[in-house]
Amino acid sequence: MSILVDENTKLCVSGITGREGTFHAMNNKRYGTNLVSGVTPGKGGQDVEGTPVFNTFHDAVAETGANTAMIFVPPRFAADSILEAEDAGIALVIAITEGIPAHDELRVYNHLLGNPDCRLIGPNCPGILSPGKANVGIIPASFFKEGNVGVVSRSGTLTYQIGNELAQSGFGNSSIVGIGGDPVPGSSFIDIIELFEADDETELIVMAGEIGGSAEEEAAEFIAEHVSKPVVAYIAGFTAPPGKTMGHAGAIVSGTAGTAAAKQEALESKGVRVGRTPTEVAQLAAEIAGSLKA
């Protein structure tokens, strides 16, 4: 097993006719993902390298049975595209777009609360890879193989770094989920950790957080109460100065809230081991995996 994307995924890409949209949609298809359609208003009836394009998500769902959407449109159109996908009955919306206004994200998040059948991953995320099954997004899949470590992360390239360190220690992955670096992510660490806990294939969970907000602290509480599998964590931004936004809109230390040290303490107080570098995360994972086998 794996979580969220697999051989049952029927992917529809919003923005498939754009340069980046085409490139990554085709990349995902080559990996083996079942890409069934794309949406670009006004370009219905065309195709992109054989994949049919529709004017609306509703048409794409009716004609191709799409159950997963990838959002690859510019920030000013992205919230609308997410809402359209949800309205059309898509169960999983993965928003790659970076730079969506925070108030748009807030409206989308609160609207989706009313629909338990739709889950949003992102925005501003690298997507989801279930090695050997499906890749939806921009994760460079060649670095990862099938295995039993579930990875959930707020950052794209940091996920690759940690995944690579794990791979070099001999680990593969059940799924790798980027939840994104924005202030209002559609899914939290808790949402994804809950899925990994229920997934048979996943034996160890790695979470990569960063400064800002309180998602890691909330995850620590959840792990203590509801998670039986071992969790190893990493937090980026120990040396970040307060009051500065470190690239991600969500990565900002305000006063004493949101610091890496506070997050590390919250996690360690609940028994989650925290690696200080990506290399140390892989070492901790190897230690734990060794003790699981013993």
């Binding site: 108030h103 390239t157 202030p183 970040a240």
Partner: protein, 379 residues
């Protein structure tokens, strides 16, 4: 982006929030024209984003023209905790009967705007929250519903606002909420919100933070400048579309992706180095963006060595290598570089660097190894 006080007040005024009359000025002559137009007494206020400007001499009352001249010439150019005052705001003097506090923040944890109101205005609200948390009334607003009249009443009654001001305070908060949403703000704060002897409410200060990601909807706000707050390197980076934060150390850092760059800073610090900056070249960086980034990093003359840490996904390592080769061609850096390339087209990138054989460029296979090498070279 953070607005200056007067920019915030002008934004408030557009949404019908009462503010004292005022005008901005960048020279003493402009300040005197503004003071004459507004009348005396008036207040000369330094426009810098620092709490406690008043105590540091940045706010003065002028009773006549000669006092206005004296204050304006003292305050313009003044250094307030490291920030130079480039602009003053000349404002009519207000009479104050009471000082309230109100604000709306974008509460990420609750995923809803949080509205706060207190009769303890004019002081540091974080101190009030610590000493007397009950003095601050708070309420989350469902962003799909918006601010309702009852929200205003509840807050006003809970905060213990004077009876005759319950309704006006609620109406004020409704306008503040409207401004918060319409302007894509992450924070709007009025401290103090004053009550005049005529029992009118007025915003005597304004603190506004806007969402950078929404500036495309607000061209007027996007055009606002705050010269005193921007570090020259940060300004240069912004003009080139790079995400750069200046730090205190001597090791220049370039990476792709915010999380990886933050992690790189941590690892460099852990092996005993001190980063000079955070620079995220972003996803899909092309060679010319790398040249720009190198220029920005080297414009900080404290930099003694530079670390490139790239894990390519969208970004292609061969593009990064081409950019670095071009940068050496154009800028001819004198400090050593350490380069770590992994991910998309890493072999091609490494081959390009090997072929170019740039002076003083060292390649390393891992992030940790690269961090150790750059720290050694910066010594």
């Amino acid at each position: 982006m953070d607005l200056l006080e007067y920019q915030g007040k002008q934004l408030f005024a557009r949404h019908g929030i009462p503010v004292p009359e005022g005008r901005p000025a960048t020279t003493v002559d402009e300040a005197l024209d503004a003071a004459d137009a507004i009348g005396y007494p008036c207040v000369v206020k330094a426009q810098v984003q620092i709490g406690g400007r008043g105590k540091l001499g940045g706010i003065k009352v002028a009773n006549d023209k000669s006092e206005a001249r004296e204050h304006a010439s003292n305050i313009l150019g003044m250094d307030i905790r490291g920030l130079t005052v480039h602009e003053v705001w000349i404002e009519e003097a207000s009479q104050i009967e009471a000082e309230y506090y109100c604000s709306i923040v974008f509460d990420r944890a609750a995923k809803a705007p949080l509205v706060m109101l207190s009769t303890k205005g004019g002081m540091d609200i974080e101190a009030v929250a610590e000493e007397d948390p009950d003095a601050i009334a708070t309420l989350h607003v469902d962003p799909l519903l918006g601010f309702q009249d009852f929200h205003g009443r509840r807050l006003a009654f809970d905060a213990g606002i004077a009876d005759d001001l319950i309704r006006p305070t609620g109406a004020m908060l409704a306008k503040l909420y409207e401004a918060f949403v319409a302007e894509d703000a992450m924070l709007v704060e009025v401290n103090p919100l004053i009550v005049t002897p005529e029992r009118k409410l007025r915003a005597l200060d304004a603190k506004v933070t806007l969402d950078d990601n929404a500036l495309f909807r607000h061209p007027d706000s996007a055009a606002l400048r705050n010269p005193s707050a921007e570090d020259p390197q940060e300004q240069m980076a912004k003009e080139r579309g790079l995400t750069y934060v200046k730090l205190d150390g001597d090791i220049g850092i370039l990476g792709n992706g915010a999380g990886l760059v933050m992690s790189t800073l941590d690892v460099v610090a852990q092996v005993g180095g001190s980063p000079a900056n955070f620079l995220d070249a972003g996803g899909g960086s092309k060679a010319d963006a790398i040249v720009s980034a190198v220029e920005v990093i080297l414009s900080d003359d404290k930099v003694k060595a530079v670390l490139f840490n790239i894990f390519g996904g969208i970004t292609r390592c061969d593009e990064v290598a081409k950019g670095l080769i071009e940068a050496f061609d154009q800028i001819k850096p004198t400090v050593p570089f350490v380069v770590r390339l992994d991910g998309t087209n890493d072999k091609e990138g490494r081959a390009l660097l090997a072929e170019a054989n740039l002076p003083n460029v060292h390649t390393e296979a891992t992030m940790l190894g690269a961090a150790e090498k750059v720290v050694e070279l910066a010594r």
